[in-house]
Amino acid sequence: MNAANVWLIPFAPLIASLSILLLGKSRRAIASAPAIAGQVIALTMSIFAFARTLRAPGYREVHNFVWFNFGDQSMQLGWMIDPLAAAMLLMITFVGLCIFVFSIGYMADDKHFTRFFAYLSFFSAAMLGVVIANSLLLLFICWELVGLASYLLIGFWIERPSAAAAARKAFITTRIGDMGFFLGILLLYHKSDTLLFYDNGHGCLENAGLLLLGASATAIALLIFCGAVGKSGQFPLHVWLPDAMEGPTPVSALIHAATMVAAGVFLVARLYPIFSAGAINGVTTSLTIVVWIGVITGLIAALIAVAQFDIKRILAYSTVSQLGLMMVSLGVGGVTAGMLHLLAHGFFKALLFLGAGSVIHGAHHEQDIRGMGGLRGAMPITFATYAAGMMALSGVPLVFCGAWTKEEILHAAWRWPVSHVPFYLVMLGVVLTALYMTRQMIYVFDGKRGPAAHESPRVMTTPLIVLAACTVVLSVFLTPAWPWLDHYLLGERAHVDLWKIFDQTILISLLLVGAGIGLGVFFYREALRGRRQDPFQTAQPALFRFLANRMWLDELYDYTVIRAARMLSRIADWLDRYFWDGLVRLVGLLGQLFGIITKTADERGINSGVDETTVGARGLGRVVSSAHSGQIQTYLGAIGLGMLALLLLYAWLA
C-alpha cells in the first residue's frame, strides 16, 4: 500500500455506498454486506499503510498529480501516508467497522435500512479522504463531503421536524466556519502558489513554502481555524453538535464522537507548521487564540454537561469539552498529546455512544436518564463496557488510555510559557468530567429498578466488548514508561523507562479524578435512594436552569445573530419592494409610453406601407410561381437551355 495506491482506501467504502444505493430499497437483507465489506477492505489496506509507516521513524510518502491546468498554472492534488494519517486511518476504519456492525442490530427495524448504510459508507469514504489528502483543496473537497454526509445522517429521520431542523442547523453552522476556511485556502494559495502540503520542498507546509507566507501566516491560520471551530464544535460554533443527537445513535457515535468532529483537530494538527510559523518560544498569536478557544469550550461544555438529562446530550457536551481539551493541547504545543487524546477519545467515546445506543435500544428508546435506573442487572455487558468507557473518559489511571493522554495534556499545559490559567481551568474540566460521568452512571445503571429493559443482541454487544478491550489495550502504547505511539507520531524511537510512570502528575491526576468521582458519588448516590430529583437542581435552581438551558447561548444567538440577519433581510426586502421596484416600474412606464407612441406610428404610417408591399410581393409570387410547373422535365429543359446559353457565351467570348 504505497502512496500512489492509498486512494483505494476511501474508494472501497465509496464503491460500497454506490452499490448499496443501486441495490434499491427492498434488498434489506444484503444491504449491510457491501458496507461491512468496504469497511473491512479499507481496514485491511489501512493496516498495510500503517505497516509501511513503521519502516522508518517519521516516514512520509506523497503522491501528487495534476488535476487540471488553467493558463500556465496547474492545480495539483495528491495523497500521502505519514504516521498522523496512518494512525487516523486505522482509528477511523476500525471504530467505523465496530459502529457498522453495531448498526446492523440497532437499525434492524428501521425502514430506511439500506439508505442508512449507504450514507454511513459514504461518510466513511469522505472522512478517509480528508485524512489521506496531501492537498488543502482535496482536503477541503472531502471536508465538505463529510459535511454533506453529516447533514444527511443527522437528518436521517427526515419525517421528524426536529431532525430536519438539527440537520439544517449543523449544516449552516459549520458552513460559517467553512467560509473562513475557504478564505484561508484562497489566501494561502495567493501567498504560496500551491495547496500541496508536501511536495519535495515546495509544499506549503515545508520551510520554503512557509517562508513565502511571512506575516500573513497568522491570518491564514486563524481563517483555517474557523473551519476547525465549525467542524469540531468549538465555542462559539458548538451549538450544532448537541442538536445533532437527533440522528440515529450509531451516527452520533461515528460522526460526533469518533471521526467527523475529529476532523477539526486533525486539520489543526495537519497544518500545525502554519500555526506555529514564526513562533517565539513555541508561542504564536494564532496558537494562543486556539488555546483560549479550547479552554472556553472545554469549560463551558463540561459545565453544561452536568445539568443535562438526555443521555446522548451529556455525551455530546462531553465530546465538545474533550475537543476543547485537544485544542488546548495543540495550542500549548502538545501536538502529539492532542492527537493521542483524539485517537483514544475516538475509541472510548465511540464505546460510550454505542453503549448509550445499547441502553436506548434496551430501554425502548427512552433517552432521559431520569427514566432509567438499575439497568446494571438487566444489561450486564453494556454496563461493564460502559463503565470501562466512563473510566477512560474520566481518566482513571493505569489501565485506561484516556488517563495517559489527559496527563500528557496537563503536562503540556503546565509547560506553556504564557499563562498557567489554562492549566488550572483544564484541571477543573477534568474534575467536572469525572463528576458528570459518575452522575450519568448512577442515574442510568444504579438505583431503583426502572422500566423493564433487556440486554442487546450479540451483534451490538460484540462491538462494545471489542472497543472496551481496545481502550485498555491502547493504554499499553501510551504509558509514559513506553510512549510508543507518542514517539511514533513524533517520528522518534521509543525507549522503555518504567520510572516515568511514577511521575508527580500521576498523583495530581489521581487526585483530580478521585475528587470528581467522589463528589459525584457524594452528591448523587445518597440523593438517589428515594427520589429521581437532581440534588444540584434543588440546591441551586437558578444556576441549574442556566446550565440546563445551555447558558442560553442558543437564545443569545437567536436574539443577536439571527435577529440581526432577519433585520438585514427585512431591510433588503423593503428596499427591493419599494426602492428598486419603484425604479423598475418607472422604467416600465416609460416603456409603455414609448410603446403607445410607436404603436400609433405603426398603425398610421408604416403598416399601410407594409400592406402595400406584401400585396405587391404576393402578386409577384403568383407570377413567378406559374413558372414552377412541378414537372421535372420542364426544369430539366430549362437547365439544358441555360447550359446552351452559357456555352454560347463562352464560345463567343473565346
Binding site: 410547373s629 414537372q631 421535372i632
Partner: protein
C-alpha cells in the same frame, strides 16, 4: 482520328440522353437519359486522357469514380421511382407535380 470527332460522338450521346430525359413521360427514362449523359462525360474524360499523353491516368480514375457514383445514383433513383410508384400509383412524370407553384 482527331479528338474533335470523338467529342462530337460524345456530345451526340449527351444530347440523346438529354432528349430521353426531356421528352419521355416515364420516370425511368429520365434516369436512363441521365446515365447516358454521364457516359458521354466519361467518354470525354477518357478521350482527353488518351489525347494528352500524361503519365498520370487521371482521366481514367475520374471515369471509374464517375461510374461508381452513377451506379449509386441509379440504385437510389430506381428505389425512389419504386417508392413514388407505390405512393402515387403512377410513374408518369406529368402527373407528378405536387410541387407545382
Amino acid at each position: 482520328m482527331t479528338l474533335s470527332i470523338l467529342l462530337m460522338v460524345s456530345s451526340a450521346l449527351f444530347c440523346i440522353g438529354l432528349l430521353a430525359a426531356l421528352s419521355r413521360r416515364h420516370a425511368i427514362f429520365i434516369l436512363i437519359g441521365i446515365e447516358m449523359m454521364l457516359a458521354a462525360a466519361n467518354i470525354n474524360f477518357i478521350a482527353f486522357w488518351r489525347y494528352n499523353a500524361q503519365p498520370q491516368p487521371t482521366g481514367v480514375i475520374v471515369a471509374i469514380f464517375a461510374i461508381a457514383i452513377a451506379a449509386a445514383e441509379a440504385a437510389v433513383g430506381l428505389a425512389l421511382i419504386i417508392a413514388i410508384y407505390r405512393h402515387y400509383r403512377t410513374t408518369n412524370v406529368d402527373q407528378l407535380d405536387r410541387l407545382k407553384g
